[in-house]
Structures are given as C-alpha cells and as structure tokens.
C-alpha cells in the first residue's frame, strides 16, 4: 500500500461522498456543493499523481489543478446564478420540481 494508493483511496472516498450528497439531497444548492466536492476530489487525484506518479513532470499537475479550480469556481458561480433564476420561477429550490424537461 503505497502512499499513492492511500491518496487515491482518499480522493475516491471524497468523490463518493460528494456523489452520495449530490444524489441524496433534494436541495439544489446542496447538489451543487456535492458537485464541487467531486471536482475537488478530482483535483486531489491530480496532485496525488503529480507527487507520487511514475513520471514526475515539473508542473503539469499543478497547472491542471489551477485551471480546474478556476473552472470550478466559474461553474459554481454560474450554477448558483441559475439556481437563483430557477428559484425566481418556481419559488423553491427542490431539484425534483425542476422537471419541465421530462418526456
């Protein structure tokens, strides 16, 4: 069990916690937070491999994570704006109620 394994297990666990949270909660904001957790877990993965990966290249992992954080932030902002817009329409933030696209 190398440290890498441990790091990976850690990130997988975090990912799954985020997944469970996104799946289980009906509050849209919480779903978004779950998604953020999943993204963070992915970032963890990148850093783990950057640190313990077989071919350590100078800063690729770090770069990637920086970009990933930026994107995640942007996505959180837009998502929350969407939540506000949807709230204005349906007066609640339960995700089940936003099912207009149902076939």
């Amino acid at each position: 069990m190398s440290p890498l394994h441990l790091c990976l297990l850690f990130s997988s666990a975090l990912f799954c916690i985020g997944l469970v949270g996104a799946l289980a909660r009906s509050n849209t904001i919480l779903v978004l937070l779950g998604v953020e957790l999943m993204l963070n877990a992915a970032n963890l993965n990148f850093i783990a491999f950057w640190r313990y990966g077989p071919t350590p290249s100078p800063a690729t992992g770090v770069m990637f994570v920086i970009f990933s954080i930026a994107v995640a932030a942007a996505e959180a902002a837009v998502g929350l704006a969407l939540i506000i817009a949807v709230y204005r329409h349906q007066k609640s933030i339960r995700l089940q109620e936003a099912n207009r696209l149902k076939g």
Binding site: A22, L23, S26, L95, Q96, A98, N99, L101, K102, G103
Partner: protein
C-alpha cells in the same frame, strides 16, 4: 320527239325538286307549293310522253343508261335507268293521273291548315314512284320502294291528331315492311347468285339470258330452283305493297288519309307498284312461283269482293274493291299474262282514281260524311259527280263494250281460262265478277238513289270546277282506254311485249267467255238492284237486307273476316310475348349480369378499401403506433429528474467498469 335513256332521271327529279321547294317554303306559301307540284308533275308528264314515243319507236329493246354510283374497294355499286314500253306506259299513266289528282286536291284540301305540307308529301311520293318506275337497278327500285312507303305513311297519317289515322299509318308501314323483308332477302340472294342487281346490262343483267340460265338451273331447298325462290321472295314485297292476302289488312285502314291520297296512292299508283314489280321481273318467275302468285291473286280477288259486300263506309268499299282488283292483276301475272295485268292496271288506275275522286267529291259536299247509310239522293244534287261516278262504276264492274274495265278484265279471264295450270283461279275470278257487280250496284244505289237520309246529304251540292274537271277527264279515259287492248286489236299488249305487229283475233274467238262474263255482270247488277235499287233504304238505321237474311255471316264479313283480330291474337300476342321475354331477359339476365359486375366491382372496391384501411393503414398505423410507443417508452427515460440521471451515470459507470475490468478490455 325522242328521249335518250340518259335523261330519264328528269321524270322523277322534277317532282323531287317541287317537294324540296315545298318543304323549304313557309307555311303560308300555299300557292307556291301547289303550283310547283302541279307544274313539276305536268312537265314530267310531257317528258314521259316523249319517253313513250321513244319506247314505241324502239320495240323489243330495253334502252338503258347505267352508271356507277359509288365504289367499295374493288366492287362498284351501279345504278341505271331503263326505258322500255312498260316503263313509258306506267310513267305516263302515273304523271297524268297524278296531275289530275293534284288539281283536285287544290279544291279538296283548300281549308286544311297543312296545305303546303300536303303538296310537299304528294310531290315526294310522285318522285319516289317515278323513280321506282324508271329504275334499271333493283337496288334503286328498292330505295324508291321504301321511299314510296314513307310517303304513304306520311300521307295516311296526314291528319295525325286523329289517333285512328296515326294508327293506320303505323299499320300500313309495318305491314308493308313485313313484305319488304322478303323483298330484301330476295334482293340479297339475287345479288349473291347473279353478282349484279342491274336488270339489263348488255348481257350481264339479272333479267338477261346468262343470269336467268344460272338461276334457273341452281336448285335450293324444297325442290325449288334459286330463280323460283328469289321470285317468291320478291313476290313477298309485292304482297305487302299491293295488299294481297295475307298482308291486305293495311289497305282498308289506309282510307284514314285524305281522299286524294286514297285516290293517288291506294288506288292508282302505289299499290300497283307490286304488280309492276312482278311484271318487271317476269322473266325471272318460274312456273312454280307463278302458280303461287296466281293462287294468292285469286284468293285476294275473292276476299276483297266478299268483304266489300258488307261494308258501310264509302271509301272502305272502294278500298276493298281495290284489293280485289289487285288480286285480279296478280292472278293475271300468275297465269302467264303480264301484259293483261298491266293493261288492267292502267285501266284500273283511271277508273279507280275516278271513283275515289268522285267519293271525295261526295264526302266534301256532304261535309265529310262517309257512311253510305247516311247518304242518299245525291244523284239529283250532284249531277256531274253522279255521272262520272256511274261511268267509273260501270268500268269497274265491267259493263261491256264501252267501258275499259270490261276489256281489261276480259283479257285476264281469257288468260286464266287458257292457262295450262290449274283453273281454280279462273273460277275464283268468275265469282269475283258477280260479287264486284253486286256490291258496286249496292254502293251506287245507297249513295246516290233515293232521298237524303241525313242533314249532310240533304244539303249537299255540286263542287267547284277545280274538283269536277278532273272527274270528267278521268271519265273520258275510263272509257277510251279500253280500246287500247281489245282482243281484236290488242295494241297495248303487243307494244308491251315489244312486238311491232299487232296480231289480234276476231271477236268471235273466245266469245263464249265474253258472253259468260256479260251474263255474270248482269246477274250481279240485277241482284244488287233487286236488293238495294228497288227497295231503297228508308232510314239510316234500317237494317241491310243481307244483314236480315244472314246476320251472322253479314257481321263476320262486316268485321272484315276478323283478320285484324286474328293477327292481333297470333302475331300480336307472339310479338308482345317476345317483347316481354326480351325485356325480361334484358332486365334480369343482362341487367343481372351488369348488376353482378357492378356488385363485383363494388365488392372488390370494398375489399380494396378494407385492405387499404385495415391492412395498409392498419399496418402503417400499427407500425407508427409501435414506433410512437417505443418513442414514448424511451421518452420516459427523460424523467426530468436530475438526481435520477446522476444515479444512472453512477450505476452505468460501475457496470461499465466491472465489465471492463473483468471482461478483459482493460
């Protein structure tokens, strides 16, 4: 003057032109129509005289002018004109008598509204009759034969608003048509056998030696030769047209037409066309055919005379006398004396036309009263009519020496007596002589003697000159014409045969026969006078002496031997049965088939529609439904539930990963 055969067509063409003018003229152009008709026919008369002189100058030759009418592929249809003594005598007679009758009609039809049409139809008739006479082709003769029938129909039914007249016209047309069927069959057979319908054609004609030889030798069914069969078929046409037994039923009914029509068509000319036809095709007639003709003629002669005894209508008595005299003419042809037949035809034309015009004069004066029981006493009031009528009657009866009918009937009796065949026609003719004398005396007595038995008869007066002058002229000829064919000098018969020399025999030859006929005439007149002349009829309603003597027989004769009823019961019933059967057949069999086909069509249409709707549409609809259902089923995946999607993603990831790990892909 002479007339080339080439110009013979002018004789019928002029009346045809007059008919066209009268047809196109407006109703008010009465004088134009009448004038054109009379002028045309008179001119035709003069041309006929020229033709007669040419024919007499060329004895024993048949002057022809043949031309091609039209061509059908390699065959041609030729027509032609024929100028021989028979044609010339007939044309002259028809045009002369016709002109006189036309003039008479000026007075008779003066009050009629359809005056112009009358002259149009009369001219049409004259044209057709003359065309029939000059024809060298049996085809042209048949065409004119039918046209004459048409003109007769138009003229009999001239007062068409009278149902009896319309029915009579129809009856005449249909009855003659039955005869014409035989005529047509004979024509077709002749064309098939001889290859031509021209009568004289430089040796190739039907009446010339080559064709006659071929026809006479070829045998057909019942042991008859082809010539006999064709001759009998052609005779059928004559039976219809000349009112022979059994197709005589139309002639009495044809008296529904105006009296000039009766005079011209049904006494003098049209009915004589049958006799003329037989005389024309005489070379074709074999002894077998002639025997049949003689018997039919004899039966008709007797039949007409017997029925006339019990008739009360003036014109019907004359009609039956016409039937009887036509029988005499056919009898003459049958016993081998066509020239005697033509002689009688010519004399008959004059005295019968005279009698009819006289009857017309009486009817006109008595305001269309035709029943002889209602007439009487006209001898004093209508002297000229009475005188001419008497002359006509004496000619018809055969009062000796001065009257034409005597000489012509004598010729017939002589021929019947000297024939090699059966003498039965001769005995029939003798009986006919007695009866003719009897009923004619009755007619004169009831119409002219005594005193007027009705208002009309009492107030009758003589007609104008336009009506009486033709009577006088005809009376003259009723006397004079007889001298053309006396046994001592049979000029007419000789000329008809084409001989230049006239071989008469002295009056003492055959004097026995002459005496016999005179005695018979005297017997007839005597009996008639005894019954009707001495004890004149008191009232219109008094019974006829014969009716009291033999009421059943008299009634039977009065009902014209019930021929009409017989025909209605047999042919009429058969015809209506056939018509009903045909209608049933058409309605239910053909109609049934058509209905069945329609039903079949409907059925196939329904099947198609059902197949289309249930099958195709259903199939398509079901498929579409299935697709839609599938789509709908699939669309249920779109729950709109974001959590669900995510859950599915997670699960799918798990599954895929497992499959990849353990499936050996990764």
């Amino acid at each position: 003057m002479s007339l080339s055969a080439q110009y013979l067509w002018l004789i019928p063409a002029l009346p045809l032109l007059a008919a066209t003018i009268a047809a196109l003229a407006p109703r008010s152009a009465r004088s134009l129509a009448a004038g054109a008709a009379i002028l045309a026919l008179a001119t035709s008369f003069f041309i006929s005289c020229a033709a007669l002189s040419t024919a007499l100058a060329n004895p024993a030759t048949h002057l022809t002018h043949n031309f091609v009418w039209f061509e059908l592929g390699n065959d041609t249809v030729p027509l032609g004109w024929l100028l021989d003594p028979l044609t010339a005598f007939m044309c002259t007679m028809v045009t002369f008598v016709g002109t006189l009758i036309f003039i008479f009609s000026l007075g008779y039809m003066h009050e009629d509204a359809n005056f112009k049409q009358f002259f149009c139809f009369l001219s049409l008739f004259a044209a057709a009759m003359l065309g029939l006479l000059v024809a060298n082709s049996l085809l042209l003769l048949f065409i004119c034969w039918e046209l004459v029938g048409l003109a007769s129909y138009l003229l009999i039914g001239f007062w068409f608003h009278k149902p009896s007249a319309a029915a009579a016209a129809k009856k005449a047309f249909i009855t003659t048509r039955i005869g014409d069927l035989g005529f047509l069959l004979g024509l077709l057979w002749l064309y098939d056998s001889a290859g031509s319908l021209l009568l004289y054609d430089n040796g190739h004609g039907v009446l010339e030696a080559t064709a006659l030889g071929a026809l006479g030798s070829a045998a057909t069914l019942c042991g008859l030769t082809v010539a006999s069969a064709i001759g009998l078929l052609l005779f059928c046409g004559a039976v219809g047209k000349s009112g022979q037994f059994p197709l005589h039923v139309w002639l009495p009914d044809a008296m529904e037409g105006p009296t000039p029509v009766s005079a011209l068509i049904h006494a003098a000319t049209m009915v004589a066309a049958g006799v003329f036809l037989m005389a024309r095709v005489y070379p074709l007639l074999t002894p077998d055919a002639l025997r049949v003709i003689a018997f039919i003629g004899a039966i008709t002669a007797l039949l007409g005379a017997v029925i006339a005894v019990a008739q009360y209508d003036l014109k019907r008595i004359l009609a039956f006398s016409t039937v009887s005299q036509l029988g005499y003419m056919m009898l003459a042809i049958g016993v081998g004396a066509p020239n005697a037949a033509i002689f009688h035809l010519l004399t008959h034309a004059f005295f019968k036309a005279l009698l009819f015009l006289g009857a017309g004069s009486v009817i006109h004066a008595a305001h269309h009263e035709q029943d002889i029981r209602q007439l009487g006493g006209l001898s004093a009031k209508m002297k000229l009519t009475f005188a001419t009528f008497a002359i006509g009657t004496m000619a018809l009866v055969g009062v000796p020496l001065f009257f034409s009918g005597f000489w012509s009937k004598e010729a017939i009796l002589h021929a019947a007596h000297t024939t090699t065949g059966s003498h039965l026609p001769f005995y029939a003719a003798l009986i006919g002589v007695v009866l003719t004398a009897f009923y004619n005396t009755r007619l004169i007595a009831e119409t002219f003697f005594g005193h007027g038995r009705s208002h009309a008869a009492e107030h009758a007066h003589e007609n104008s000159a336009v009506m009486t002058t033709p009577l006088v002229i005809l009376a003259f000829f009723a006397i004079a014409l007889g001298f053309l064919g006396t046994p001592a000098y049979p000029w007419l018969q000789a000329r008809l045969s084409g001989e230049t020399a006239v071989h008469g025999h002295s009056l003492l030859d055959g004097v026995g026969l002459m005496v016999l006929s005179i005695v018979l005439v005297a017997v007839g007149i005597g009996a008639g006078f005894a019954l009707y002349g001495r004890k004149l009829r008191a009232k219109a309603t008094s019974p006829d002496p014969l009716a009291t003597a033999a009421p059943g027989l008299h009634a039977f004769l009065g009902a014209r031997l019930k021929f009409d009823e017989l025909y209605a019961a047999t042919f009429g019933v058969l015809n209506s049965f056939t018509a009903t059967a045909a209608d049933w057949f058409d309605r239910y069999v053909w109609g049934g088939i058509v209905h069945f086909l329609a039903l079949l069509g409907e059925f196939s249409g329904t099947v198609n529609r059902e197949a289309d709707e249930q099958g195709l549409n259903g199939g398509f609809d079901a498929t579409s439904e299935k697709i839609r259902g599938t789509g709908q089923a699939y669309s249920r995946v779109q729950t709109g539930d974001a959590h669900g999607y995510l859950r599915w993603i997670a699960v799918s990831f798990v599954v895929l990963a497992l499959v990849a790990i353990f499936g050996g892909v990764v």
